[in-house]
């Protein structure tokens, strides 16, 4: 790949000016934080996406294993593997040959799978084997895997890498997209690190590299200063003990922590390590075990009780979980407060006007449907509503995800204002830069447990990065 770049409409640069070479027999790790452009790069290498700039040379026989498998759940394994590449006998599908192909490929690569199993009945690790087998059936020279270990259990991860090493030994060039440093160190021959769409570091011999070095390259420069840091009375406001919620794979196992009034506590961690369960349990959206105490009183009940107590959430999926898209800004401005005095028409309008002004929401009118607003302006409405009713605790889940820099800065500074006003803010983010910029304290989540705590004057990128990746 030479000078490859990809720009999306609206001048969003996903990948810029990347030079990368994949060689036969080698496992290359493409590392970087969420949104660094890794997946976009891999998708272009697989010829699925056309680059805006630059050229890609070499073989077109590229297999791609998606992070979210692209299998047909209701079909059998052999049907999935054969799809688009069916062995025929005359006009008919040669089922026997298709089954045999699955068996032969499985044997040759140490990935035995029952060809007649229906995909939806398989555990996720086996389903991934099916996805890999499907790609191998097309005899690729290059195999790309996007976050292949995100959903796997440790034993499954070991099995996967054993397979990948065997494939590499047979002369296939392999690239894995990942942000788990452990795996990179343990299994890759070579690593490149991406940040903001560009490759910022090459590690040609991973064996002589430490996880800290790669982590530093991933997160970049120095810790930015916390804007407008004001001293506040640090009274404990939210006390969480042994909180346990969600499923085994991505739930919260046992979390104990406290958040003080006037403090932003950042939750660092790779996506899927309990963040969603944490936010949903605090918001009363899912059941949980353990206790949550707010200003000395135990917090229980569903979302309505939590909102009444002053706990507000900036939901991670604003379009589905926070907004009623066909409704106007005015009507959206009071969702969750509709039983209060602000429901009255004039008060509702006044609230909407206040949000639009304070958050610089770019809209033609207050009666515009929020669906017609850009993502950043939708997020401003959500954050504005969350902060409008004097909350005591705000859970901000990826509050600046997918919005432009200006909107992100505005949202960030309003969160800091809220914190300065005495709100206890829980900030969940997958971007260390954001956590470093906003947090007074950082807790690290790994597999549903809090594995590290850092005060602001002791933020350590490499250490946090290593803990996020599961290093003890």
């Amino acid at each position: 790949m030479h000078g490859v770049g990809k720009t999306y409409p609206g001048d969003v640069v996903a990948v810029r000016d990347v030079d990368l070479e994949l060689r036969a027999g080698e496992i290359v790790a493409i590392c970087g934080e969420n949104g660094a452009g890794k997946t976009t790069l891999a998708t272009m290498a697989a010829r699925i996406l056309t680059p805006t700039t630059g050229t890609i040379e070499g073989t077109t026989r590229v297999g791609f294993v998606h992070q979210h498998f692209e299998l047909i759940d209701r079909m059998r394994v052999w049907e999935n593997v054969a799809l688009g590449n069916e062995p025929r006998r005359g006009l008919r599908l040669d089922r026997a040959a298709a089954r045999e192909r699955v068996r032969a490929l499985g044997n040759a690569n140490g990935m035995d799978v029952d060809p007649d199993a229906v995909v939806e009945t398989l555990p996720v690790g086996i389903a991934q084997r099916v996805e890999i087998l499907r790609e191998l059936a097309r005899e690729p020279e290059v195999l790309l895997l996007d976050e292949p270990t995100a959903v796997l259990a440790p034993s499954e991860i070991d099995a996967l890498f054993a397979t990948l090493r065997a494939l590499a030994a047979r002369g296939i060039a392999i690239a894995i997209v990942t942000h788990k440093l452990q795996e990179v160190i343990a299994h890759a021959h070579r690593a490149v690190v991406m940040r903001a769409g560009a490759i910022v570091a090459h590690f040609d011999d991973v064996a002589t590299t430490s996880a800290q070095e790669i982590a530093r390259a991933m997160v970049g420069g120095e810790i930015p200063a916390l804007a407008a840091h004001a001293p506040t009375a640090l009274v404990p406001r939210l006390i969480v003990r042994d909180l346990c919620a969600g499923d085994d794979a991505s739930g919260l196992r046992s979390a104990t922590f406290a958040v003080r009034a006037g403090e932003i506590v950042g939750f660092a961690g790779v996506e899927g390590n309990g963040q969603t369960a944490l936010a949903d349990a605090l918001g009363g959206v899912i059941p949980h075990r353990g206790t949550i105490e707010l200003d000395g009183a135990e917090l229980g009940g569903g979302p309505r009780a939590r909102i009444a107590a002053g706990v507000r959430t900036i939901a991670q999926d604003r379009r589905r979980e926070a907004l009623v898209l066909p409704w106007s800004i005015v009507d959206n401005a009071v969702l969750g407060d509709e039983r209060g005095p602000v429901f009255a028409r004039s008060a509702r309008r006044a609230r909407a006007k206040e949000i639009v002004e304070r958050f610089d929401v770019r809209t033609k009118s207050l009666d515009t449907a929020v669906d017609a607003l850009s993502g950043g302006n939708q997020q401003k409405v959500v954050v504005g509503r969350t902060l409008a009713n004097d909350p005591k605790v705000v859970i901000a889940y990826q509050p600046t995800r997918g919005i432009d820099v200006g909107a992100a800065a505005l949202v960030a500074s309003r969160l800091i204002e809220a914190r300065n006003g005495g709100v206890a803010v829980l900030l969940v983010s997958f971007e260390l830069d954001e956590l470093f910029a906003l947090s007074d304290r950082i807790l690290v989540l790994f597999r549903g447990e809090i594995v590290g705590e850092f005060a602001r004057d002791a933020f350590d990128r490499a250490r946090i990065g290593a803990l996020m990746a599961g290093a003890a």
């Binding site: 918001g283 979980e321 898209l325 509709e338």
Partner: protein, 339 residues
């Protein structure tokens, strides 16, 4: 607007083609349909025709508002037919047995009509709220049960002595709904339905509960996270929806048939789904849509008799109207997505 005109022209053309296929002259057919719907000027007593159209409008308006009420909350109540029957059944049983002044009987029958229809729909509401049961299937099945239940009760345990066939005894004449136009079947059921439409519009536009119901319908996950209990919404919306349909059934008993008959509805509850959708779930537009469908309902009989065109042509037109509407909304959505 241009699209609507094209759709209307296409509809008329297809209906004309169907009439021609049925061996009738389309012009005669349309003339008869129109005459049947509105009556002929300067013909004595022909104002009965427009009255009959309004009777049909009323009969469609109650279940259409019922359907719209549930739809707004995101619930596909396709059981208005069954709720209408159960409401009518309750009204017929009480009305034929209650010894009281006429206006008391009227109020009592309307009340038990609402209760009956509401309770019938609440079954689907509870199934949805408690067990996540699909309300489409539940209400559809309850339609069938409603008809059979009514038949069983009327012919069996609650049979009125001296009455033949599957109906109750006739209600006392002072318990009949007052007519608006002497000599017709047009009663105060029409203004009641219109008042209900206005009330429903206010409810969704202004009230807290209406706001919460709409939120649950338009964005269930956001509503849930904002503290709105989706199970409760399902129960409330289904029950109120059924109650509206039930009142409709009671007005047919009180005002049109003056008794309950198991055949009291020629499928009003089903046509009502089309009326609600054509009216885009907005109560005032639904009034207009119910009038248009009322013309078709009452005109189709004249059309069959006078122009020898099968009534089914009207059913065909109704079906096509829904199809055109669905297509238009689909195109509009795609247009919005592309923008």
């Amino acid at each position: 607007m241009k699209g609507a005109a094209i759709a209307f022209a296409a509809l008329v053309a297809i209906a004309a083609g169907a009439m021609a296929l049925a061996g009738a002259n389309p012009i005669d057919g349309f003339a008869a349909l129109f005459r049947g719907g509105f009556g002929e000027p300067h013909v004595p007593y022909d104002d009965h025709r427009i009255a009959e159209t309004l009777v049909q409008t009323t009969a469609l308006l109650f279940p259409a508002l019922a359907v719209a009420f549930a739809f707004r909350a995101g619930l596909f109540n396709i059981g208005a037919e069954g709720q209408l029957i159960v409401g009518g059944l309750a009204a017929g049983i009480v009305g034929a047995r209650l010894a009281a002044p006429g206006f008391v009987i009227i109020l009592a029958t309307l009340a038990v009509g609402a209760l009956g229809g509401g309770a019938w729909a609440a079954i689907a509401g509870v199934l949805r709220a408690r067990f996540g049961g699909n309300e489409v299937i539940a209400t559809l099945m309850l339609n069938i049960i409603a008809g059979l239940l009514a038949n069983y009760l009327i012919v069996g345990p609650l049979h009125s002595p001296g009455v033949e066939g599957a109906e109750t005894a006739v209600l006392p004449a002072d318990a009949w709904l007052p007519t608006l136009l002497p000599g017709t079947r047009l009663t105060i059921a029409l203004p009641i339905a219109l008042a209900l439409a206005v009330a429903m519009r206010w409810f969704f536009a202004r009230s807290v509960l209406g706001y919460e119901l709409r939120a649950a319908g338009d964005a269930p996950e956001a509503a849930r996270r904002a503290g709105i209990d989706l199970g409760r919404v399902a129960l409330v919306a289904m029950t109120v929806s059924g109650a509206i349909a039930g009142i409709g059934g009671a007005t047919i008993v009180d005002g049109v048939l003056h008794r309950f008959n198991v055949a009291l509805s020629p499928g009003y509850g089903f046509i009502a789904i089309a009326v609600a959708l054509v009216g885009r779930l907005d109560p005032l537009r639904i009034v207009v849509a119910a009038f248009v469908f009322g013309i078709l309902q009452s005109g189709s009989l004249t059309m069959e008799a006078a122009a020898n065109v099968p009534k089914d042509v009207v059913t065909l037109v109704e079906g096509l109207a829904i199809l055109a509407l669905a297509a238009q909304q689909y195109v509009a959505r795609r247009g919005a997505a592309a923008a």
